[in-house]
Structure formats: C-alpha cells, structure tokens
C-alpha cells in the first residue's frame, strides 16, 4: 500500500474518559488501516481528561510508529489552559517525546523512558519501584486503612497481570486523584493478546465474565486472583457509587460498580488489541481486601505452623 502524505485529524472529545475514548480508538483504528502516515490529535475542545481516557490513548499513540513507517504525529493543545497544563503534568507530552513544534515520531517516543511505562523486559527492581512510587503517592495522605490496603494489594496484582500475561510490547500505568468526588482512578493499558486469548475462551463475553468469577482465570501461570478479588472488593463496597472496575478488551467492556452483584458486559463498536483495566477506588471504601481474603481461608488445619 502506498503511503500518503494526507493528514488524518482526530478530534478528542471535550471529556476524555473510559466511555469517550472508545470512539477515539475507533477513529485511530481507521487511521491505522489507511495508507495515511500523518495524524493530528486535536485536544482543542478538550476540557477534561481522565486516566481512563488518557492512558489507553497514550498506549495506542506510542504503538503507532512501530507499524507505520515514516509516521509523524502532531498535537493540537487544548484551548483550556488549565486542562493543557494538567495533561502536561501527567507526562502525556513527555511520553510521546513531543518537541516544541508539537510533533512526534518513532525516534522521539523511543528517547523517553518514563516511570510508568513497563514491559516484560523492564527489570524486576524497576517495576517494584514503579509499584511502590504509585502506591505511596496515593496512600500517604489517606486515613482510610481499607483504601491503603486496597491500593497496596490491587495495583501490584494488576501490574503483574499486564506484565506477565499480556505479551505486550509495552504497558502504561497512570493514576489520578480526583479532588472533587473523593476517589482515585488507576488505569493500566496494554496492546497485547487480550483477555480472550489469555483465558482461552471461545468468545470475549464469556472470557470477561469468567475472569471475575469464583472460577477465576486459573491457568498454568497463575491462580487468577487479581481481577477476581479486585471485583469482589468493588462489589462489597457500600460506601456509594464511587468505586468501580472496568475491563476493556477486544470488542467488549465489562463494568462493575460498588454494591452491585452483577457486572455489566457489552460489546462495543470498536476493537482494542489488548486489555485496559480501570480501577476507581472511593476514598471512603468500606470493603476490606483483608476481610475478603480472610473469608477465603479454609482448611486451616492443613496450613503450616510457621509464623513467629
């Protein structure tokens, strides 16, 4: 296919989040299939960017140069100065290697090694550092023990899932505390094999449901605890509607919100190669990962007596 110099403009919505990023992904998929090698990511109308929107977008944009030779990207900054500053502070432009002329390409993305990008090749000690930095940053001011333990347990589990099971060239992890609404959003995106391939199911809907079921995603590599217990934590949180778990993979998305027993699983009009997990935790989360795990401990007479 001959590469063309025509420009593809992708407008980012005024609110970029887990729902609206799906439309953006659909447009990026069209761009990837075309012969165009230049894209403009237009944030001019964007006034709000959540990790659940920015993280998969960043993951995708960093991936493009691997597939399109002589690719060049251009950013149009948000007209809202505060929003643009926030996106910059999140490291979004740095991670694309954006230069002063607002352009990025294959060479510029490879120049930057950012703290929150990792892969199976990232040394173990660096990933441990990433986990600790993000956990300490988001728990140090919290008085809620449930929240601290939830973050300390869930984030390393989700990071290990992405690193071990995704077979992705790169994974991106972002987090943001929302000062209005008292919750924190964590998002991990990969461009790997996806949940269906990892679970070995015939379809994505059954794979998504199974990965948070008591059956879990047990395979030879692990016990499938990460997503299952994270979903249990959300289900048992009765503090309000703030906590949730969303898993986007392939052409479907699963969502579970606090206090609900059943997930909502839907097909989407787009396709994500890989998995995006968004965990939103209320500052006042009432469920305890410790209690949930403790309730799973049975056969105590078979446990070794080795603590002292």
């Amino acid at each position: 296919m001959t590469q063309t110099q025509s420009l593809k403009i992708i407008n980012i919505p005024s609110a970029l989040n887990a729902k609206t990023v799906i439309e953006v992904i659909a447009k990026l998929n069209v761009f990837m299939k075309s012969s165009d090698i230049r894209v403009v990511i237009d944030f001019s109308e964007t006034v709000f960017a959540a990790p659940s929107g920015l993280t998969p977008l960043l993951c995708y944009l960093r991936d493009i140069p691997r597939y399109k030779d002589k690719f060049r990207g251009l950013i149009v900054h948000s007209n809202n100065e505060q929003t643009d500053k926030l996106i910059e502070q999140m490291g979004f432009y740095n991670l694309l290697g954006i230069s002063d002329n607002y352009e990025w390409d294959r060479d510029s993305t490879e120049l930057f090694k950012e703290l929150y990008c990792f892969s199976t090749r990232t040394p173990e000690n660096e990933v441990i550092e990433i986990n600790e930095k993000i956990i300490y940053a988001f728990t140090k001011l919290s008085p809620n023990d449930n929240y601290k333990k939830a973050v300390s347990w869930c984030i390393p589990e989700l990071v290990d899932n992405a690193r071990t099971h995704s077979h992705s060239n790169e994974c991106v992890l972002f987090a943001q505390k929302h000062s209005r609404g008292d919750y924190t959003e964590f998002c991990i995106a990969d461009r790997g094999v996806g949940i269906q391939a990892t679970m070995g199911d015939n379809d994505i809907i059954s794979a998504l449901k199974r990965c948070i079921s008591p059956e879990k995603g047990i395979n030879s590599q692990g016990m499938g605890n990460g997503l299952y217990f994270t979903s249990e934590l959300i289900k048992h949180d009765n503090s309000g509607p703030k906590s949730s778990l969303a898993i986007l993979s392939g052409n479907a998305i699963l969502r579970i919100t606090s206090g609900s027993d059943y997930p909502d699983v839907q097909k989407i009009n787009s396709f994500w190669n890989g998995t995006v997990v968004t965990l939103t935790l209320s500052d006042n989360i009432q469920s305890s990962i410790e209690n949930i795990k403790n309730s799973e401990v049975t056969l105590t007479e078979d446990l070794p007596n080795f603590y002292y």
């Binding site: 441990i128 986990n131 290990d160 071990t164 799973e296 049975t298």
Partner: protein, 94 residues
C-alpha cells in the same frame, strides 16, 4: 539460610520476584536447611507473589517438611492473611 525480603522491596507484587525467591527457598529445602524468611519492612504482598514464592513450594514439599524447615518472622497481619489465603487456594485446588 535467611531470606531478608526488605532488600527486594517494601511492596512485593511480582510473580517474577516470587519465582526468583522460590528457587532460593527450594535450594535450602533440598539441602534440609532451616530457612528463615524475614518480612520486616514489607508492608504488603500480592497474592500472586505469595502463591509463586510460598504456596508453590509448600505444595511441592508438603506440610510436614515445610513446617519443620521454613520459619516466617515479622510478617504483619495483612501479609499473613495473604500468605494463608494463597496456601488455602492451592490446597483447595489439589
């Protein structure tokens, strides 16, 4: 043999870390050494880490030998819950 975990980190979450440490543990068990695992300074562990490091070794050698040769010290309550639940999971699947 002593395995001092805070030398690795304060929050231990990776299977890779667990797998690496399990090799040390299994070497000690094969040599019938007493192995002291010191969790001082470790604030939290993931179930994946506990499963890879401790539960898999436990299932391999059995309760009797494991209890005799492996000692865990300075594990806080949360770490103990995660270890116990990982062991329990493996036992249920046996």
């Amino acid at each position: 043999m002593e395995i001092i975990l805070k030398e690795t980190g304060q929050i231990l979450g990776l299977r890779e870390t667990g797998s690496r440490l399990r090799k040390l543990l299994e070497t000690g068990l094969a040599n019938n050494e007493i192995i002291l695992i010191d969790f001082e300074g470790v604030e939290s562990i993931s179930s994946s880490f506990a499963d890879e490091f401790i539960a898999k070794s436990f299932m391999k050698v059995g309760k009797e030998k494991f209890s005799e040769y492996v000692k865990i010290k300075n594990a806080n309550d949360f770490v103990r819950v995660i270890i116990n639940s990982s062991l329990s999971e493996r036992l249920k699947r046996k």
